[in-house]
Structures are given as C-alpha cells and as structure tokens.
Symmetry: C2
Subunit: 223 residues, 2 copies
C-alpha cells in the first residue's frame, strides 16, 4: 500500500479509545513542561510523571504521528499540536448547555473548557424562574429557543445537564435541530439517531470504581 503525500498512515487507522482517553493527561503535562521552559521530552519522563509504562507512552506517541529523536525524545510543541488536532481541540467548538441545576451552573462557570477547545455560548432551561438569570456572564434562555439558537449559532455540541426524566425528550429535540454530539451528564441512557454521537459522563461510574476498589482492599487486608 502506498500513502499519498497529504495522508499520513496515522490518519487512516483510528486511534484506540484507551489511548484517546490518555491524551488529555499528556496534553496537560506537556503544557506544564512548556511553561517550565522545556523544549524536548522523552517518553520515559512522561511515563514516570504519569505513572505509566514507558512502552505504553511510546505507543501513544506513535499514534499522534509525531516522530521522536532517539536519546532525545519528542518536541513538546509538536506533540501538543498533534494531540490537539487528533482530539479536534485545535479549533474551538461552540456548545449549548441545557439545564442549569447545580451541575449545569458549575459547568458554565468552569474555566477549564478553554483548554479543551470548548466554549459554552448559550444556556437554556425549561424553568421560567431561571430564564433571564445570568450565569458566569451568560444569560439563560427559555427551552423554546433550542432549535432557533442551535441553528443561528451553528452549534454542533450540546451539554445535557437536565434531570433524567427530561433527558430523552431534550435529546430528541437536539437531534432534530441537527446537533452532532451530546455530552450527557443525566443518569439516563439515550436513544439517538445515527447522525448524533452521545458521550455519557456519569458520576456513578467513577464512584463505582473507587468504592469497589476500597471494598476489595479492605477484604484483602482482613484475609
């Protein structure tokens, strides 16, 4: 097989999901090195700082498509750009957030999203009491304006922080309005058409891992 000039090998095969999930941690650390004035970094050092095995980091770096120099390592700048590009974080995406409860408000106020190429440009809620309020400088719009807002602002991503009961209904409207991805924080599995991608982020998942590990550890100690 021959590769065209503008198409690199790593662009064609999709990167394994576990590697994608490690990318943000790499990115964060790489920026830290850069802030400290460093230019080059070795997979060995990265692995050490992230408590991963060097071989795994090397594989992950290979997925980015960046080539390293033996004995020296990788150019930090190159890695940052490549990872950002693979995650689609090189261009900022505009997002709409639905449901300004506790979690929703926290997310609107969260500064970290800038680093992840995400900007919350609109906030909607079904509760008339909340409509008109300003949260972190963004005015809350009524849910009725969902379709209009998405189309007008050409929004691709929705952050769903409505109650579980309202999640499917809201997702349907989002799908119809042409949204591409839904980041779902509601504890509810959504059914959506093929053209929409749903990513569930569930507090319970992390807690389940933690508590089962603690339980297992206590069990082991008492054996």
């Amino acid at each position: 097989m021959k590769w065209g000039v503008q198409m690199e090998k790593h662009e064609i095969f999709s990167i394994p999901l576990p590697a994608i999930r490690r990318f943000p941690a790499y990115l964060r650390l790489l920026k830290e090195y850069q802030a400290n004035g460093e230019t080059w970094i070795s997979a060995t050092k990265l692995a050490d700082d992230l408590q991963l095995k060097p071989i795994q980091v090397r594989k992950d770096m290979a997925y980015t498509g960046v080539e390293g120099k033996p004995k020296v390592g990788f150019l930090i700048e190159e890695l940052i750009l490549a990872i950002r590009r693979h995650l689609g974080w090189d261009n900022t995406s505009d997002a709409v957030l639905l449901g300004v409860g506790n979690l929703g408000s926290a997310l609107v106020g969260y500064k970290g999203f800038e680093n992840y190429g995400l900007r919350i440009v609109a906030v909607l809620d079904a509760d008339p009491e909340k409509v008109g309020n300003r949260i972190a400088g963004v005015q809350v719009l009524p849910l009725e304006r969902l379709e209009e807002t998405i189309r007008r602002l050409k929004i691709n991503i929705a952050i769903l922080t409505v109650p579980a009961e309202a999640a499917q209904y809201t997702a349907n409207r989002l799908a119809n309005a042409g949204i591409r991805g839904i980041w779902n924080f509601a504890p509810k599995d959504l059914r959506v058409p093929d053209h929409v991608i749903v990513q569930r982020t569930d507090l319970a998942t992390g807690l389940a891992e933690l508590s089962s590990k603690i339980k297992l550890k206590i069990f082991d100690e008492n054996r």
Copy 2:
C-alpha cells in the same frame, strides 16, 4: 478446587473493571423496573434497554453471583442487592469534600449520591471567605480542621475539588490523616502512599472521547 460453604466463587476472583463500570447503569435500570412493579428481568431485556449485547449482560450477571432461571430471567431484587454489595454501596459511607468552588458546591448539592451509598458529612475550604457559609445545609469548615474532622467522624472517603495546584498538598494531608480513598476531580495526577486509592474523574476524558468521535465522523463523511 473446592469452595467453602461461606465463600462463593465470585467473591474470590475480582470482577473485571469494565463490568464494574457497567454496574451503576444496571442498578439504575433495575430500580426503574422495580418501580414499575416488575419482579423478574431477563438479560435479553436488560441488554436491549442498555444497547448492549445479551451475552455481555449475561456475563456481567454471572459476576454478581446471582443465578437466573432459564426462560424467566433474574429476580430484580436479588440483582440489586448483589450489585450494591459488590460496589460496597450496601452501607452508606461518609465522605469529606475539599474545595467549594463551582464543581465542589454542585457535588455537595447533588442528591444522587444517596443512591450510591455516599453521604457528604463535612465540607472544607482553604478560603477564609468561604468558611462559615452553608452549602446545601452543610457548614464550610476551615482546611485546618482536616485531620481532626476525618478522625472524629471516622471518614474513609475524600472528594477532592480543589484547584490543581493545591491537589497534591491536600492529598498528602488526607493520606496522613488515614483516608482510604480519594475521588479526585482536580486535573492533576496524584502521588499517594499504597494504603490510599485514588480515583480520578476528569471532565477532559469524556470530552476527548466525544470530540475525537465527532472529528472522525466528520472525516468519514467527507471521504
């Protein structure tokens, strides 16, 4: 190998992490069935509702140790109890939360934790301006009282929602105070002694998955 009377096979081999991560979703759905007055459920139906393959659900149910009846399925009540027990959610654990920023406040106010066997009984912050405030009925204590609070209330779990810069320092104090598990929301990898388990829940991870999938999809469409 012979199994003792009080020790079941599934108690000895630890359940794979991916299965543990699916447990909360099963639990949620099982409670829903129960609320609808149902008593029995088949792996087939569960799989259908969660968009998983029936064979995977059957494997997961096997991990719980609950036996099903061919043609009928599993007793919902039994599955709920077994999953809760495996996650250590059968007894409520008390937790301390550190750092009442946007996310911290949202977590303190989050009602869902009751279902996960977690109760936030103390909230601490380093900022004197925040100390004394009440959040969802809990009074914010100064960070100085960390050790005393953990010991007095016999707290095993800490929820860490401090800024990244303060995360390692706070984790050190938590470890010294004898905490068993740290649920870390700060975008920072922590080093802790062996007796402490850290679970990182990172907003960036979920967003990375979503945005890379969207990017891949858009790429595929334009091919």
